[in-house]
């Protein structure tokens, strides 16, 4: 059995026991990445020397008997959206292609403090906007189960890396389902914690009130290991929650008398038959384990996607304003702009078009305009325009304010549901992974892939996806579990119970 097929928990145990060195483990993964990343494209960048040096350092410290962090020697790869001091943090955008962060994000700092071996940076949709990782300006990522298919998005690189055994643990971010949907498509386990549970400091913002960093792994047990290392209060993030995280060593204890809710709205028209069947079978597994099934309702869930696609673009339009070509990031060629403008002005004046000449951009305005025009991809531009429009004078009340009100109703739906049940279970996505390119010309269809996942972000509740079956064509199917705020421990235990009974999470794609 190869080292890369062991779980992170097993790897950690072997490292502690001295049966395996961090260097051996890192080298095993790096070899696998060297071999298969060209086909999968999960990593945008990885640095073998750097990873091996870090691993060697940990081995030495272990040998010297120094105390080590909870992830000591375990490889972790990170979505290219978390600032890492001195390293490039591109968000898979031309805009930040050369940007090197001058500081560590809290999550990176905690991974370092936990003595994880950082392997490299994973592909994503540009600025985390998208559901297929096809919006990356810097590379293509395929689904390891079928290279013709999308790994999902926006944390497609993070999901594909786990599925392809490029890393036992990865970090993703989830604004509308960007951890859970790719986890479902790639047959892995991923969790979006409660909003505020994991610090957003150093996470390049897409939609601040929805963004949450989360762990991705093969199993709930591995997930808990990574989650424990990154979660917790951070005074550098005003929205960070100052609440203790539960005792994660207890996740293997079954929840007594688990009450599982399923929402009728999650099994309506549009749900793929195979997904429907796999999820219902999963519910039966829980029933067999002694859980009670309760049918519940989320009456406002039908508005979730619309609400999300008002709030997220509004915040995005604001968050992305800083990329103006002035301070850092991509800047269009100013000399060329100035020359073009004076030529245009001269031509207009010659033609007697005085007014038009006066209306020409100043070089500064043109520099902003052109830098943004050249460096942002179409999906990012689309969302900036949507958000700018929705926040404009006269539209604010009709769109943004209305969306905030619906958001509260969606949250109230969840509050009611979690008075009745411990966990809400349902499909993560309506269909298994779609083929690359099949939805790129249909943005609205692409937005609907978030149908079941966005509510958790709007409500701020924790949610996860774990594999619960395969389609006939061999693509993974995801089961989504949600719980009340701060109940990550409940989710992890419920997932652990399921994974103890099933082997979906142990399946590997043939690469």
């Amino acid at each position: 059995m190869s080292l890369t097929s062991l779980s992170a928990v097993e790897q950690s145990r072997k490292l502690q026991a001295g049966e395996v060195s961090a260097v051996d483990l890192a080298r095993a993964y790096l070899d696998r990445i060297d071999e298969h990343n060209p086909g999968v494209g999960a990593f945008l960048r990885y640095d073998a020397e750097r990873a091996l040096t870090a691993a060697r350092h940990i081995d030495e410290r272990r040998k010297a008997g120094e105390p080590l962090g909870p992830l000591a020697g375990v490889p972790v790869a990170v979505k290219d959206i978390l600032a890492e001091q001195g390293e490039r943090t591109t968000c898979a955008s031309r805009m930040l292609e050369e940007f090197r962060a001058p500081y560590d994000s809290t999550v990176i700092a905690r991974l370092k403090a936990a003595d994880a071996v950082l392997l490299g940076r994973l592909n994503m949709d540009e600025f985390a906007m998208g559901g297929s990782t096809e919006n990356s300006a810097l590379g293509k990522t395929s689904n390891p189960w079928d290279l013709k298919c999308s790994p999902g998005g926006s944390s497609g690189g993070s999901a594909a890396a786990v599925a392809a055994d490029f890393a036992p643990l990865t970090i993703g971010t989830d604004t509308g389902g960007s951890i859970r949907q790719p986890a479902a498509f790639c047959g892995i386990t991923g969790m979006k914690p409660t909003y505020g549970r994991v610090s957003r400091f150093g996470l390049v913002a897409f939609a601040s009130s929805l963004d949450q960093v989360g762990p991705m792994a093969r199993s709930a047990e591995d997930l808990a290991l990574l989650y424990g290392a990154i979660a917790g209060h951070d005074p550098q993030d005003s929205t960070s929650l100052n609440q203790p995280i539960g005792d994660l060593s207890t996740i293997s204890q079954p929840l007594k008398g688990l009450r599982i809710g399923y929402a009728k709205e999650h099994f309506a028209a549009g749900l793929d038959g195979e997904v429907d069947e796999a999820v219902r079978t999963a519910l039966k597994v829980y029933e067999a384990l002694g859980a009670t099934l309760v049918e519940v309702s989320l009456p406002h869930s039908k508005y979730a996607v619309a609400t999300y696609y008002v709030i997220a673009p509004c915040e995005a339009s604001s968050n992305l304003a800083r990329y103006d070509g002035v301070h850092y990031g991509y800047r269009s060629d100013v000399a060329k702009i100035t020359a073009e403008l004076s030529a245009q002005r001269a031509a207009l004046e010659e033609a007697g078009e005085r007014r038009a000449a006066e209306d020409l951009d100043t070089p500064l305005v043109r520099m902003y305009r052109q830098s943004r025009s050249e460096a942002f991809g179409p999906e990012v531009k689309r969302r900036i325009m949507l958000g700018t429009y929705a926040l404009s004078a006269g539209y604010y009340d009709a769109y943004y304010l209305k969306a905030l009100k619906v958001r509260r109703l969606i949250r109230q739906d969840f509050d009611k549901v979690f008075e009745q049940v411990d966990v809400l279970a349902g499909p993560t996505t309506a269909t298994p992974a779609f083929e690359l390119g099949s939805l790129v010309d249909d943005p609205l269809a692409m937005y609907l892939v978030d149908l079941y996942t966005v509510s958790a972000n709007l409500a701020g509740v924790p949610a996860m996806s774990l594999p619960c079956g395969f389609s006939k064509s061999g693509l993974p199917i995801g089961l989504q579990l949600q719980a009340k705020p701060l109940a990550e421990e409940t989710l992890l235990r419920a997932a652990y119970m399921y994974q103890n009974e099933t082997e979906w999470h142990l399946q590997r794609p043939a690469l």
């Binding site: 978390l82 600032a83 943090t89 968000c91 930040l96 940007f99 962060a101 001058p102 500081y103 994000s105 957003r200 400091f201 150093g202 996470l203 390049v204 913002a205 939609a207 601040s208 009130s209 005074p235 550098q236 993030d237 005003s238 929205t239 509004c314 915040e315 339009s317 604001s318 992305l320 304003a321 800083r322 103006d324 002035v326 301070h327 850092y328 500064l364 902003y368 700018t388 926040l391 404009s392 004078a393 604010y396 943004y400």
Partner: protein, 488 residues
């Protein structure tokens, strides 16, 4: 005289005296090398997040209660979006529809009675972060522009008045009183040169017409760098608007609100490109910052921390120390340190009016000439009190007071030492009578003149008496001489 009323509202940006910025821990010290007081948060680096500086909020709260504002139980932060090279995030964190305070007032008065005492209403005072600074290098036509982000994120309190002022003079009085209040409670140094206090004025006219009144379009005047400039700019702008109205008849609503810059050298306002402004800032609540709650207790604590405010202090000086309105204004307007100095001197001298005369005339003159603060003044409050006390008791001839004061100041010595140094000592009555006696004997002409009714002739003897003994008090010499002549 044209029949119009000038309507003026002021927006004042005050930099709060915090050590660190509003949303990060960078220093707010003025004058550092460009871009040395910055961090990922204040320069808007990707991924950075703001964390509120509680001290800034406390200073803002203190100011708001001093301005008699209502403090809502909850306030929040909003983003105000616009592009500018020195605005690193592409938005400014400010407060839009739920400011931290509103509906206050500030009373203004004029001791010269040029306008009636009135309360200028405060619409709101809200906190926001400052932007950076663009530095335009015009050397040799290179026209490089550079950005200094040291100032970004500095806490500003924007105090917006209602349009309650009616002249440049009233606007200036409002600014003087506001600045005084802010420095009294110690929330800002209000240094206009360093940009700690910036003023924009909104001005228009209400012109009387046969069918009611006509309002002219509102103009916002910017770039005024002294209170005097504000006064001049407003007065200029009022006349200009009247001329424009006579020419075009344009009323409010006919043209959009205009921004004009004040050119202090030329003494005129000039139109600024209207293309640069947009009223649509796309405000929305900043999702990176949680709303802030004020408890009753916090507001109460802020209120109790204020100390005695200028208006109350003026009343007290008038009541307890018999000062005139004018005198109390002169002292109080010099700031809390001068008042403390004054009160300490009165404590020793026991005469408020006499001390006030010395402080308001001599002490302030010296401070002005030497551009010094009262803290650096060479005569301590106790020492000045003793000096005034001696003058009042007649132990120091009043004619030599200024002389003694100057020596005390120059040498840094107390009144006794100064008098000793000048050889001033109490002259014996009999000695003085003796001197006068001999002088009268030597000057029969003067005796004749006085007897003939020309009392002022005695004056010539005073100088001679002082020559014989410099401590001779002129008043007493004069009186003794007149008494002796009357007995002759």
């Amino acid at each position: 005289m044209p029949d119009y009323t000038t309507i003026i509202g002021l927006e004042v940006h005050v930099q709060l005296a915090t050590k660190s910025k509003l949303f990060c821990r960078c220093s707010t010290q003025f004058g550092a090398e460009p871009n040395t007081q910055t961090c990922p948060v204040c320069i808007g680096m990707p991924g950075s997040l703001p964390v509120m500086n509680r001290e800034a909020l406390n200073l803002a709260l203190k100011t708001a209660v001093a301005l008699n504002c209502t403090i809502p139980p909850m306030t929040k932060w909003d983003r105000k979006q616009y592009y500018y090279p020195d605005l690193p995030k592409g938005y400014q964190i400010s407060q839009y529809d739920m400011p931290m305070s509103e509906h206050g007032f500030l009373e203004i008065a004029d001791s010269k009675d040029r306008f009636e005492t009135k309360q200028v209403r405060i619409l709101r005072a809200h906190l926001e972060e400052d932007a950076g600074k663009s530095v335009h290098d015009e050397v040799a036509g290179r026209a490089d522009s550079m950005i200094d982000l040291n100032r970004t994120g500095t806490p500003l309190l924007e105090i917006v008045s209602e349009p309650d002022m009616r002249s440049g003079l009233e606007a200036r009085a409002y600014l003087d009183e506001l600045k005084l209040l802010l420095t009294y409670i110690g929330v800002s140094d209000c240094n206009m040169q360093e940009g700690s206090l910036r003023v924009d004025a909104n001005v228009n006219l209400h012109i009387a017409a046969s069918d009611g009144k006509i309002a002219t379009p509102i103009v916002e005047i910017k770039n005024m760098n002294s209170f005097r400039a504000v006064e001049r700019a407003i007065d200029y702008e009022a006349r200009r608007q009247y001329d424009v109205w006579q020419e075009t008849g344009a009323k409010i609503g006919d043209v959009p609100k205009q921004t004009r810059g004040w050119d202090d050298n030329a003494g005129v306002t000039r139109g600024q490109r209207s293309k640069e402004e947009s009223s649509d800032y796309r405000y929305f609540p900043d999702p990176d910052l949680v709303p802030v709650k004020f408890s009753e207790a916090e507001v109460q604590t802020a209120r109790e921390s204020l100390g005695e405010l200028p208006a109350a202090l003026r009343s007290r000086l008038q009541a307890e120390h018999a000062l005139s309105v004018y005198d109390s204004e002169v002292l109080v307007n010099q700031g809390v340190d001068v008042v403390a100095y004054y009160l300490a001197a009165v404590e020793v001298a026991g005469d408020g009016k006499a001390v006030c005369n010395w402080v308001s005339q001599d002490v302030l003159r010296v401070l002005k000439e030497s551009e010094a603060n009262i803290a650096d003044f060479g005569i301590s409050a106790k020492s000045l009190g003793e000096f005034v006390g001696k003058l009042k008791a007649g132990d120091l001839p009043s004619a030599r007071g200024r002389e003694v004061f100057d020596v005390m100041l120059e040498e840094g010595i107390d009144v006794d030492q100064a008098m000793q140094k000048l050889g001033i000592e109490e002259i014996d009555e009999s000695e003085l009578v003796g001197i006068c006696q001999s002088l009268l004997e030597k000057n029969p002409k003067i005796v004749e003149d006085v007897k003939g009714g020309k009392q002022q002739a005695v004056g010539a003897l005073i100088g001679q008496a002082k020559k014989q003994n410099p401590n001779a008090d002129p008043g007493r010499v004069r009186q003794i001489c007149l008494d002796l002549i009357a007995q002759m």
